[in-house]
Amino acid sequence: MIRLSAITRVFHMGGQEVRALNSISIDIASGEYVSIMGPSGSGKSTLLNVIGLLDRSDSGHYELDGTDVTDLSENERARVRREKIGFVFQSFHLVPRLTAAENIALPLILEGLAPAERKSRVDAALDAFDLRDRAHHRPAELSGGQRQRVAIARATILRPTALLADEPTGNLDHRIGAEVMALLEGLHHAGTTLIVVTHDRELGARAHRHIAMRDGEIVADEK
């Protein structure tokens, strides 16, 4: 359950004020599948970052799963991100030195899980995302679709309640993008809240709820 009330995020750029988010209020229930669309610079990524506790709002309130997370300390925000949020990025953001399996294991390491427990969870994830034979490859040796699958496996390895994807298919061709979307939708079917930022109308239309943004405001919110 995500509840934003009058969230405002202002950036200062050379003396100029940019209201990336202008008094945004939305409720997103657990298990919803939401797409966020809008022109470039309308505040989609900023909204996702605030929801994912990567960014702070300048004013307003944010309640996540019944607790007020507006004023959490940096450490508490890190813990909430680790436990409740999964991020998927357009540019994958895999650690180039680590293998697919090691990248997937990163959140488990941060969480402090024992190696044996880590291994069984990573093995399960490798199977679930059809990466078994790529487990020991580094990102440079993987295709774009495989990289994004590794990123999704990593984002979901700790079973987050919300999966936030910022243009997850932006760097993939159409067919592979559709496959990745199908994967994400599968996770949604398993109960995860799925919020996808996209420029692709067709992909955006697959969500059950469509939010349109412009100049830091929500201009449409349809189910």
Binding site: R81, R82, G112
Partner: protein, 400 residues
Amino acid sequence: MNLRDTLILSFTTVASYRTRSLLIVLAMALGVAAVVVLTALGDGARRYVVGQFSSLGTNLVIVLPGRAETTGGFPGAALGQTPRDLTLEDARFVGQLPQVRRYAPLNVGVAELTAGGRLREVTVLGSTAELLPIRSMKLAQGSFLAHGSERSAQIVLGSQLAREFFPDGKVIGQRIRLGDSRFLVSGVLAVQGESMGFNSDEITIIPIAYAQELFNTESLFRILVEARSRNAIEPAKAAITHVLKLRHDGEEDVTVITQDAVLETFDRILRALTLGVAGIAAISLAVAGILVMNVMLVAVAQRTSEIGLLKAIGATAADIRRLFFAEALWLSLAGGAIGFALGHFGAWMIRLAYPLLPAWPPTWASVAGVATALLTGILASLLPAARAAKLDPVLALSGK
């Protein structure tokens, strides 16, 4: 993130940036090796000098003619006046002092040694039986000058001379000619090697009276005195100065040196030198530390988006800080260990090349070298690690 995973993860990172890591480790290792090798050299030199002095004998007080002017100059070169001779009689008076255990008058010169068709110029020491214990020399065969033997024509040969002149090994009781006089070989010194630039394997020792005759002199070159104990050294020095002043009509025209004072001065100077050299080498480590800091700052800049990612998946600021900290720890640990090994290898090479120099790295220097490496590495990582931990995740993810 627990300690073990932090160490493993940071090790993978260090290992995968191979060239960069090698350079840092090399810089660190050279610094540590420099500390180890240079202190080994310095301390080796100190031990060498101290050893040389100690081999002269213990509680040794040396009396030489002439006044060592406080304004500089050296014994015997006092302005204008010729110093009064130091005589056997003087030596006998010194020997009577209660602070003195034993004494040996000494004359030194060069003469031709001939036996069995062989001829060679040798250094001749004229002295008494007491020379042996005072200089802590040892005999290989036979006996030393007999007590009260100033008038019997005995000669003691250095081991090298004994071998040269009597290759068949039958030395004791043989006749040998020194200058114009004949001597009977009574003993052979044990092999001692070089000491204070003076090879005692190639000297001969004869009774002082013969030496004075041979060199046609009444005056002594030195009086070697052994004080009763370490504590008696200073009183002995004062008493000797006093008695000789009385005997020389109130003129203080002799110089009394104690080897302890000389030794202590050398010891102090060489210790200071070793410390100074270690300090200079440690500075090279500090330079390595600055290198580490620079490289780590570049690493933070290069890995900005990775740091952002780690934060996005829930790493705390402390996690990030510890990761960079651990990277520096690995690098300086490797540098310290390799430098330690390299330094000890270098010291070993020096000992091989100069067997006389006991170039053992002092333990304190090895420990200090490695500790300085660790400390500089860790200090150098503090700033980069703090900078990485402070990065804003959103900006970091976008690579800014």
